[in-house]
């Protein structure tokens, strides 16, 4: 199956189990996002939206319940398989861009393909393609510090798409950008959703951004409101 579907059933995440500071971040959450869907997850801080994103990213494991990425139960995967799933089926976009400082735009975009073990020729073709697609021609030799915020986020999006995943998970993608640049980045993401049928999940607390997505999932106290 390669359909970009995410299914969460009965998700419970409890931190510090059995300790005095035990904390339930998610208290039984069900959510299905089908192929090509565009959803925003909103909620106040501490509502559990980041926890949900971490679970969908295979970075964390649920205390109870299951997460299926394209039909694969992530609880059944070992560390190596999770890493493979992350680099092949998921694309990540962060609020802080999180580009590798010592590497050029080109190398940053290339990175997931190197983790995958693609040959240099193939990598080069894909990087060039992505640089073109996001209007980054001429910036391939620049380090992140030499780029504007918008450019950095575009490099980050290009990196997320390197291995052509069906699912894009974005954590406050415009949070560190001014309004105008933020809008441009949002347009870009929505275009990927519409034109390439990527499943898009955006975590945000910005209502204006949430309004642009077709589905708004509001989380409060670890449940969908």
């Amino acid at each position: 199956m390669n359909n970009g579907e995410i299914v969460c059933t009965g998700l419970v995440k409890t931190y510090n189990v059995g300790q005095p500071n035990e904390f339930k971040a998610l208290r039984g959450l069900d959510l299905t996002l089908s192929e090509g869907e565009c959803a925003s997850i909103i909620g106040p801080s501490g509502s559990g939206k980041s926890t949900l994103l971490n679970l969908m990213s295979c970075l964390d494991t649920p205390t109870e319940g299951e997460v299926y990425i394209e039909g694969i139960d992530i609880n059944s995967l070992n560390g190596f398989e999770k890493a493979r799933l992350r680099r092949e089926k998921l694309g990540f976009i962060f609020q802080q861009f999180n580009l590798i400082r010592g590497m050029t735009s080109y190398e940053n975009i290339e990175l997931p393909m190197r983790f995958k073990g693609l040959p240099p020729k193939e990598r080069k073709k894909r990087v060039t393609e992505l640089l073109d697609l996001f209007g980054l021609e001429g910036k391939e030799r620049n380090k992140p510090t030499e780029l504007s915020g918008g450019e950095q986020q575009r490099v980050a999006i290009a990196r997320a798409l390197a291995n052509n995943p069906k699912i894009i998970l974005a954590d406050e993608p415009t949070g560190n950008l001014d309004t105008k640049t933020g809008e441009k980045i949002m347009d870009l993401l929505l275009r990927l959703n519409q034109e390439e049928k990527k499943t898009l999940v955006i975590v945000t607390h910005d209502q204006r951004i949430a309004q642009q997505t077709c589905k708004v999932v509001e989380i409060q106290d670890g449940r969908i409101k």
Binding site: S50, N54, S57, L59, D60, G79, F80, A83, R84, R86, R87, E88, F92, F94, N98, I100, R101, G102, M103, L111, P112, R114, F115, K116, R159, A160, N163
Partner: protein
């Protein structure tokens, strides 16, 4: 991902440089000290030549009577002894008076002393070896009985500038009230070929009977004991010492072995010091790697988030540390090479940089780098991306 490791090393040039220097000094030290040790070993082996199966037996200090015939016969019966040759050693007193027309000359600055080794002609083959021939003149002969003749070893002849037909003055001092001095002249009748055995090359052989008559003293104070198997030198030397209190046996070979064992102890100590310095270098690598990993926690977290496996991270950090110490090792090699060159040039030490030493140094540096990188690499690979991305 070697290029990534390289890039990371070059990101902190000064820090990486200093770390590399630390390793380089350690490796350089091992190479330089090792090369000196090898050189000393070689010098010792060379200076003693291939003296093998000869044991020197001397009358004990407290024994004024000389070595008795009984003892000589007894030593002959010890297992492994092939022949026992009595010799007498006579120190030549240097003539200081200008004696006109005398052929007697001493070479070198300040002159040199010389020892006459008195032997019986029939023992000559045992002592010198039948196959050793005289390069000039001839060897001693039974017919030379009581003659004043001398056969020189090649080194002696060369060092003292003596030629066939020259005469060497031997001064005999009469212990008495007026300290009368009598001079005897020994003619050089032969110069032996070079043997590589210093006990022959550096000797001057005369007839024992001539010397006994001249000194009016027939005591035997020294024996040369030849043995069947070089490997038995130590055992037989001990046997002789055990057999009689009258004598003290020693062999140049056991001396060489003693020196070698002292030297190897010394070498162990020196290697120990070098190893400590290398260990310090290794700690430097570890420190640098821990710092480097700490600084890049977020980066490593991101890499894991976007699909790097634990192994990828582990290998990358290991590569980085292996690279640091590898470069350190190569630099150390150059340092070691340069310093042995300088040592050879400006001191009397001979240095030998063996391939074993070089591979030891390089191998050690790589193993050290891997070892020092293990902990930082492991801790980097265990970073939790969620934690790192949330808090940093």
């Amino acid at each position: 991902m070697i290029d990534v490791a390289l890039k990371n090393v070059f990101r902190q040039r000064v820090r990486s440089g200093l770390t590399i220097l630390g390793i380089a000094i350690g490796i350089g030290l091992i190479l330089a000290l090792g090369a000196i040790g090898e050189g000393l070993n070689k010098q010792i082996r060379e200076s003693f030549g291939d003296i093998a199966g000869v044991i020197d037996v001397r009358a004990d200090f407290e024994n004024d009577e000389g070595i008795s015939d009984d003892v000589i016969e007894g030593i002959k019966k010890i297992d492994g002894v092939t022949s026992v040759v009595p010799v007498g050693e006579y120190q030549i007193r240097r003539g200081s008076r200008g004696m006109g027309g005398m052929m007697f000359r001493f070479g070198g600055v300040g002159g040199a002393s010389m020892t006459f080794t008195g032997i019986f002609p029939e023992d000559q083959d045992y002592l010198i070896g039948e196959h050793i021939i005289a390069e000039e003149g001839r060897k001693l002969d039974e017919s030379d009985d009581r003659e004043y003749v001398v056969v020189l070893g090649s080194t002696t002849a060369e060092n003292q500038y003596l030629n066939l037909g020259d005469e060497i003055e031997y001064e005999r001092r009469e212990d008495g009230e007026d300290e009368e001095i009598e001079s005897y002249y020994f003619e050089v009748i032969g110069i032996l070929e070079e043997t590589g055995d210093s006990s022959i090359d550096e000797a001057a052989f005369v007839l024992l009977r001539t010397m006994q008559e001249l000194e009016d003293d027939e005591t035997i104070t020294s024996l040369k004991v030849r043995i069947s198997d070089v490997e038995l030198v130590e055992t037989i030397t001990e046997d002789i010492n055990y057999y009689s209190d009258e004598v003290m046996a020693s062999s140049p070979l056991s001396m060489v072995r003693n020196m070698e064992s002292t030297l190897s102890t010394l070498q162990m100590a020196v290697y120990g010091i070098a190893a400590i310095s290398l260990l310090v270098g290794g700690i430097g690598v570890m420190n640098t790697m821990i710092m480097s990993v700490m600084e890049r926690r977020r980066e490593i977290g991101v890499m894991k988030a976007i699909g790097a496996t634990t192994t990828t991270i582990l290998i990358q950090v290991l590569e980085e540390s292996a690279f640091l110490s590898g470069i350190g090792g190569l630099t150390g090699l150059m340092l070691g090479y340069a310093s042995t060159g300088i040592i050879t040039q400006y001191t009397t030490f001979t240095t030998i940089l063996t391939p074993e030493l070089i591979s030891l140094g390089l191998g050690f540096s790589v193993i050290l780098g891997m070892g020092a990188g293990l902990y930082p690499a492991w801790s980097a690979s265990q970073l939790d991306p969620i934690e790192v991305l949330r808090y940093e």
